[in-house]
């Protein structure tokens, strides 16, 4: 092989390898996007039934009930609410009346959270929770995405 051909082949090989890597990455990316829905959207059945998503809003006062390691509470955006079930320890910053973001799936109208996020400080509202309240106040339904979210 001539040196020029060889360089071409090497370049081709790199492009191929990169192509495979990109395909792999994009595939994994597609299936791991976690979309965000507000309680109003969940009430309107916009949230996908068999896919993990994030739910944000306020923890409604007086709704946190503990039974051993199982805990249940209600997340609201002041217009609609969704009951949430969780098993495990809630983060230090989880409080009634404060913002919360939970990740999990809907099962029979109950949001079963696998993870409750609160990596924010005392005075700080998680962006997703703030967004949910904003949408509810605007009183109109902002569709989350025009992308393929039902995959």
């Amino acid at each position: 092989m001539k040196p020029r051909h060889k360089r071409l082949a090497i370049a081709g090989g790199i492009v191929c390898a990169f192509g495979i890597a990109v395909a792999l990455v994009l595939n994994a990316f597609q299936s791991n996007l976690v979309f965000f829905y507000s309680p109003t959207q969940v009430a309107e059945h916009e949230a996908p039934p068999n896919r993990s998503f994030r739910l944000g809003g306020l923890v409604e006062k007086g709704t946190v009930k503990r039974d051993g390691v199982n805990v249940s509470f209600i997340v609201t955006d002041t217009s609609k609410s969704v009951p949430v079930r969780y098993e495990g320890i809630l983060p230090d910053l989880f409080k009634e009346g404060k913002g919360v973001v939970a990740q999990g799936q809907l099962r029979d109208g109950v949001f079963v959270a696998r993870e409750v996020l609160a990596k924010h400080d005392e005075n700080y509202m998680p962006p997703e929770a703030a967004e949910a309240l904003k949408r509810a106040q605007q009183g109109k339904l902002a569709t989350p995405m025009k992308m393929e979210s039902g995959k």
């Binding site: 060889k6 994994a28 994030r54 320890i89 230090d92 700080y124």
Partner: protein, 659 residues
């Protein structure tokens, strides 16, 4: 008075930085030796002024000067002194000052230790670093002055974020910044070489130790951040694929690629333009990381700033630095030339593949980090990319990388024989496979991913052993002892072996933790026990405790194994009244083969608590592996040939000897 002096010192430093950015560069273009000679004293003066300003801020913190707004927001009289010092970089303004201190410190170090460089090259390098300092000084003085006074000083400060009141926090940011900013040296060397048109093997040899040292700090900084998250955040994870972690991981990936491509450029003169591009990218990603973390676009404990001017300024600076350096690259790189030829199967090809894979990994992290931010910024909705994405992507990308890591060091430069390589490494491959299967069979864990993980770790070790054994073979010419032959191995080669062994240790740790850890959240009354992996945890109740600036509930948990006592753990739940925050302080018994991790969840009725009880096998190997990588880097950076005066011929002969 002290804060005003510090503020004034920063303005003086700006003046010096402007001189440093302009005069030596111009001098190098015009051939004026007197202007170029300004570079070194200016770099020293700039560092002295910034260090003085930094000392002023430290003094304000230690002396509890709450008339300074930054001190009032981040400190408190009841805060212990060592944390008052650490609080200097606990907020936005102070951490930017620390960034600047590091930048000028690196410039000073270059001025101090690179006397042997040609005057023109040194002048250009220091000028570029001066330009970076101008940008950051302006940022600090115009948008985030740490010395701003309050009209009505409060009696006491608002206290440091409790999460940051920890020994790990004292060292994590300085280490990480040393690494981030250290990449500016490689960047400046690259830009200076592009301007001067002297990209060659000598340039690569000058750049190599600096890059390696920056990489060492970055490695340790990331490892410390991960360790801090493990014991301080209270849920026992060691890596979350949080955007802030990604921001530090991306420069690390590119810097790792850069170290390897610099090796090719130095030894063989190939990959020159690629190496320069990597040097530019590595520092650009450091700047991007700073932008992401400091602009407040991310929501996490790291994002202190919510002032949009700051984000805009860094973004502008980022665009300027990346745009200008890439434009310079596009203009000058075609003149660089391609360097020595090499065959299909050669060490060059393996290192090229290494670079491609590392860049692909970096691209994947970049996509996962920026895509949600981009969509949000465009108003297209909110979404997040889950950790499973990164896990899914990294395993298939890193598997070939690790496989090549075993082969690469054994392959010869320029041309290697594939059949011969296979013959030399078949035992290593077989041994790794068998060892992985045996270990997993003994643990009763025959999963595909965990077997693959163990096999990768063992493969690195076995390939290294093969390489070492070959190097210790008598060469047949002079009869020497094994010890003598071991001493003949160049120090940089030993460094590479130690660093690669560190990767093996790291992978082993990750695999063992991922496949063998048990995490259990249990409700425990006084006297209750729970058993995890043969360890019996007994809850002995909770008592109240008073710390310097917090109140705590301290639990007592006895751990026994087979009836004998192992350890008594004291996890705490702390309440910081001034900061108004609750903190979980985990209690960890660190061991060579396992960590016992206990933290308090929430109190229930009576004296019962929900308790997290975790057993994590081999988790300390994760950080041990990182430290080994850093130590390997240290050995490589302190190789003799970097310390001796540069002589091209000597370098060439050593290159032949090492091949």
């Amino acid at each position: 008075m002290i804060p005003e002096i510090g503020h004034f010192a920063l303005w003086l430093a700006l003046g010096v930085a402007i001189v440093l950015a302009a005069m030596p560069m111009w001098g190098a273009a015009r051939g004026r030796a007197d202007w170029m000679a300004l570079a070194r004293p200016a770099a020293a003066l700039q560092f002295a002024l910034v260090a003085f300003a930094f000392a002023c801020l430290v003094a304000a913190f230690v002396g509890n000067d709450f008339s300074v707004m930054y001190v009032a927001s981040n400190s408190n009289t009841s805060l212990p002194t060592q944390y008052r010092v650490a609080a200097v970089w606990g907020g936005h303004e102070g951490s930017m000052l620390l960034w600047l201190l590091m930048l000028t410190g690196w410039a000073f170090a270059v001025a101090r230790f690179s006397r042997h460089l040609p005057a023109k090259v040194l002048a250009r390098i220091l000028s570029v670093m001066g330009l970076l300092a101008v940008g950051f000084l302006l940022f600090l003085l115009l948008t985030s002055n740490p010395f701003d006074r309050l009209a009505n000083p409060p009696l006491d400060g608002r206290d440091l974020n409790p999460l940051l009141q920890d020994p790990g926090m004292v060292f994590h940011p300085p280490m990480l910044y040393m690494g981030y900013v250290g990449l500016s040296v490689a960047f400046s060397f690259a830009v200076a070489a592009l301007i001067g048109g002297n990209l060659d093997a000598t340039w690569a040899r000058w750049t190599r130790p600096w890059t390696t040292v920056a990489w060492i700090f970055l490695t340790i900084g990331i490892a410390m951040g991960s360790g801090w998250a493990y014991y301080e955040l209270g849920w026992g994870g060691w890596w979350f694929w949080d955007p802030v972690e990604n921001a530090s991981f991306m420069p690390w990936l590119v810097a790792t690629a850069l170290i390897h491509s610099l090796a090719v450029t130095e030894k063989r003169g190939s990959f020159k333009s690629w190496t320069v591009l990597l040097a530019i990218l590595a520092f650009s990603l450091s700047l991007l990381g700073t932008f992401l973390v400091r602009s407040g676009v991310l929501s996490s404990v790291h994002a202190f700033a919510t002032d949009p001017r700051r984000g805009l300024f860094i973004l502008g600076f980022l665009v300027f630095v990346i745009g200008a350096s890439l434009a310079l690259y596009a203009w000058r790189a075609p003149t660089v030339g391609l360097g020595a030829r090499f065959e299909w199967v050669s060490r060059e090809t393996f290192l090229l593949a290494n670079n491609v894979l590392l860049m692909a990994a970096c691209g994947a992290v970049l996509l996962g980090t920026l895509y949600p931010l981009l969509l949000d910024a465009l108003g297209m909705g909110k979404l997040s990319v889950g950790p499973p994405y990164f896990d899914t992507v990294f395993v298939p990308l890193l598997t070939p990388l690790v496989f090549l890591m075993g082969i690469g060091p054994l392959a010869r430069w320029k041309q290697a024989e594939l059949p011969q390589l296979m013959k030399r490494l078949r035992w290593a491959f077989g041994a790794a496979l068998v060892a992985a299967l045996v270990v997993n069979w003994m643990r009763g864990h025959l999963g595909f991913v965990s077997t693959l993980g163990l096999m990768m770790a063992f493969w690195i070790v076995a390939a290294l052993a093969t390489d070492l054994a070959d190097r210790l073979q008598p060469n047949g010419i002079v009869n020497t002892s094994v010890l003598h032959r071991a001493r003949q191995i160049p120090r940089s080669m030993v460094g590479m072996m130690v660093a690669h062994l560190g990767i093996a240790v790291f992978i082993f740790g990750v695999t063992m933790v991922k496949s063998g850890e048990i995490e259990r959240d249990v409700k425990m009354d006084v006297g209750d026990t729970t058993e995890v992996l043969g360890y019996t945890f007994t809850f002995r109740g909770v008592q109240s405790l008073l710390g310097p600036n917090y109140r705590a509930a301290q639990g007592t948990i006895d751990v026994t194994r087979g009836g004998t006592k192992v350890v008594t753990l004291h996890p705490e739940k702390r309440v910081f009244p001034v900061a108004g925050a609750t903190m979980t302080e985990a209690a960890i018994d660190t061991g060579f083969t396992r960590d016992l991790y206990v933290s308090l969840g929430e109190p229930l009725a009576g004296n019962a608590w929900i308790v997290r009880v975790y057993v994590k096998p081999f988790i300390s190997w994760i950080w041990g592996g990182c430290l080994m990588m850093a130590f390997g880097g240290f050995l490589a950076a302190t190789d003799r040939r970097y310390r001796s005066k540069v002589r091209a011929t000597q370098g060439a002969t050593e290159a032949k000897a090492a091949a």
